[in-house]
């Protein structure tokens, strides 16, 4: 690997029947990311289960004993592989009906989503659901993988018809940028190698696409957002007066000498130094973790946000959001919950439930509660003002989680509208 290798996080959405595990297995296997001891373990299991000699690559992504016993995937698993060009993190999400929440979870950090379709079945309800979630969570890149082309005689007509139907549906969600790839994960056509069976397809195989898709623009580079995580006061002789504000630049760029506004107070000051362990920087940008010192002494604590005065976020105690309910306990509109948004933790109430979205039909329904896997538009009120952007504009300052104070469980994921 060279010292310019980039990191790409992607998810795969589809059911076991679409050959999702086989696709991941194929990517790992053909990119030589499977080790001999892993291969020997799954070879043994394939034989024990009465496999017909071929190694079942889908076994590679089985994790827990409970899953192996039941032959299902119960949670998000993360897989790692690398090529000389890029390092990849796969968020492997189960495709079962009830697991919307797992897909939302894995999609929240992904640069790219592979939506898997069985060429024999075409665009199904679950394809629509996966695409809706992908658009809701704002995954920047979409690949439609039309798998099992071997089962439809590698027919170009079948592939073209599926792509046309899918593009028409995706356009309704405002998704226009995507790549459709025909493939056979089972035989390895168009996954890592081109194979011999899809010569009519002019585009790149999947791995080549994953290696080359441009992700530099996925981060918002215009709006400087710096939530303060931790105030550093060494109080040693050497650093007697040192007061640094530690955090990660979530978006935008900052340079020593730049004027900043501290929110929610609105105080204005200047960045004195950008301090790092490896020495001071003149300029830093997302996603660097740094320490900022300021020219003025101002009372600042965790939860405050530094921004540039020219590109201000919103500061408010009220906002609307798309919410995915993650908990088995339904939403109780009478209760107070806790929101964690950037580095700020505040109490909240749900002022209104605007509507619930049927993830299969995309129809909107009125509702008085939310159950696990429900997606809804809600109006929220918080005890202290939050400093935020819309999720579309900024994935980091537009997202939050909801925590149930009684159980401390994470019960919902929110995206500010």
């Amino acid at each position: 690997m060279s010292n310019t290798t980039q990191l790409l996080r992607f998810i795969t959405a589809g059911s076991v029947d679409d050959g999702k595990s086989t696709l991941i297995g194929r990517l790992l296997h053909d990119s030589k990311s499977i080790f001999e001891d892993q291969l020997s373990a799954i070879t043994k299991t394939s034989e024990r289960r009465g496999g017909m000699g071929a190694v079942d690559l889908s076994l590679l992504t089985d994790g827990l004993q409970a899953e192996r016993e039941q032959g299902i995937t119960i949670d998000v698993a993360y897989r790692y592989f690398a090529t000389p060009k890029r390092k990849f993190i796969i968020g492997d999400t189960p495709g079962h009906e009830q697991y919307t929440r797992n897909m939302v979870t894995a999609a929240s950090t992904a640069n790219l989503a592979i939506i898997l379709i069985d060429a024999r079945k075409g665009v199904l309800t679950q394809t629509r659901r996966h695409t809706f979630i992908t658009s809701l969570v704002g995954v920047p890149h979409i690949v439609l993988a039309v798998n099992k082309m071997d089962m439809v005689d590698y027919s170009k007509e079948t592939f073209d018809a599926i792509c046309a139907e899918y593009r028409a549906f995706a356009a309704q969600l405002g998704l226009h940028e995507m790549t459709c790839i025909p493939m056979s994960a089972l035989n390895g056509d168009m996954v890592v190698e081109r194979g011999e069976n899809l010569n009519w397809y002019q585009g790149s195989p999947l791995l080549e696409l994953l290696e080359n898709v441009v992700i530099d623009h996925d981060i918002n580079t215009t709006d400087f957002r710096y939530p303060v995580q931790w105030v550093c006061r060494p109080q040693t002789q050497e650093y007697h007066d040192f007061r640094g504000y530690m955090g990660r630049i979530e978006s935008g760029v900052i340079a020593a000498g730049d004027e900043i506004t501290i929110l929610p107070s609105g105080r204005i000051t200047k960045v004195k130094e950008i301090v790092t362990y490896d020495g001071n920087l003149q300029r830093a940008c997302a996603p660097q973790s740094v320490t900022l010192t300021l020219t003025d002494e101002i009372d600042i604590s965790r939860g405050d946000m530094f921004v540039k005065s020219a590109t201000m976020p919103q500061v408010s105690k009220e906002f609307e959001a798309m919410l995915c309910w993650l908990s088995e306990s339904p939403l109780d509109l009478n209760r107070k919950y806790i929101i964690k948004h950037t580095t700020r933790v505040v109490k909240c109430v749900f002022a209104r439930l605007e509507y619930r979205v049927d993830v299969n039909t995309l129809e909107q329904h009125s509702s008085t509660t939310l159950n696990m896997n429900d997606i809804a538009r809600v109006a929220m009120k918080v005890q202290q003002p939050l400093v935020f952007d819309s999720y579309i504009k900024n994935r980091f300052t537009g997202s939050f989680i909801v925590i149930d104070e009684a159980t401390n469980n994470t019960v919902a994921a929110g995206m500010i509208v």
Partner: protein, 301 residues
């Protein structure tokens, strides 16, 4: 640096620093588990990057099996002292004396019992968060674990009932007597670790590099001869050039044959190796396909 695209190591490093600072800010009484192994040495450098010029907002804690390679203990003590950070060591021998660990035989592998001493140490100091150097690429059960992994009052991990973890917004909340384990290098692979060791020029125990060592062949592996591992009848002591990919309990940590004498040569070897880190080096994880899952459910980190 800010004019170039960030490399995967830059992105991983920043993610890890962000995680450590979240622990410091939101947890009342955290600790950093530090063994003197390569992953935890990487963690120390990340903690320096996260908190300098201040001191770490947590002590270093080592749960010592007393089956460690002496070179690792030397390295552990040197690093803690060079950094000027507080190191707390608790030994499995203490739990054995107390009777909370009962061994079947004196030279038995001690990894499964680390959980007991770890939980006792958590109770002794009232830690509500333990930061550990586990990686998701190490093992199947780890691949499914959250970065902030909630444990109940018995220190147990319930894989079916994990908190969803979205974006980089971590839920750190626990009730009294519960705690969380935090894994800032979850997304790092063995290769990333070696590239980082090379990039940062980190000092690690020299048994990670190729050296000549007396070994015996047992149960499809090579085991280092030591006061804990002596040849049984019929076993031949051989001298081989080896290095360790992991440094754990001496009774069950196998070296691999190698001539790689520095981090760069190890990177080259790692790039072409065909066996996983644990598969090559940990006999105790090969007992069953679910070994790690079972140990984690019992409170192992």
């Amino acid at each position: 640096m800010s004019n170039q695209p960030f490399t995967h190591l830059d992105v991983l490093e920043s993610e890890s620093i962000h995680i450590m600072r979240e622990v410091a800010a939101e947890c009342k009484n955290p600790a950093l588990l530090f063994s003197g192994g390569k992953d935890s040495i990487v963690m120390l450098r990340l903690a320096e990057k996260a908190f300098r010029p201040a001191r770490f907002p947590f002590p270093l804690v080592h749960i010592d099996t007393e089956h460690n390679f002496p070179e690792v203990i030397v390295c552990r003590d040197k690093l803690a002292s060079d950094l000027g950070e507080r190191l707390i060591v608790r030994s499995l021998d203490d739990s054995i004396k107390k009777g909370t660990i009962v061994l079947k035989s004196a030279d038995q592998g001690r990894n499964p019992f680390q959980s007991v001493t770890l939980l006792e140490t958590i109770a002794e100091f009232g830690f509500d968060a333990c930061i550990g150097g586990a990686r998701r690429d190490e093992e199947k059960a780890r691949a499914k674990e959250r970065i902030f992994s909630f444990r109940d009052e018995f220190g147990q991990w319930d894989p079916k009932n994990q908190r969803p973890e979205l974006w980089d917004t971590y839920n750190t909340r626990v009730h009294a007597d519960e705690n969380i384990r935090v894994f800032p290098i979850s997304n790092w692979t063995e290769m990333d670790i070696w590239e980082y060791i090379a990039r940062e020029k980190l000092y690690i125990p020299d048994i990670y590099y190729a050296h000549e060592r007396e070994v015996i062949r047992r149960d499809n592996g090579i085991l280092p001869v030591s006061h804990l591992v002596q040849p049984r009848s019929g076993e031949q002591v051989e001298k081989l050039m080896v290095r360790f990919r992991t440094v754990g309990d001496m009774t069950c940590t196998c070296p691999v044959e190698s001539h790689a004498r520095n981090a760069q040569e190890i990177i080259e070897e790692t790039a072409i190796t065909r066996i996983t880190e644990r598969g090559a080096t940990r006999m105790d994880d090969q007992t069953s396909e679910a070994s790690m899952e079972l140990r984690k459910k019992e409170g192992y980190f």
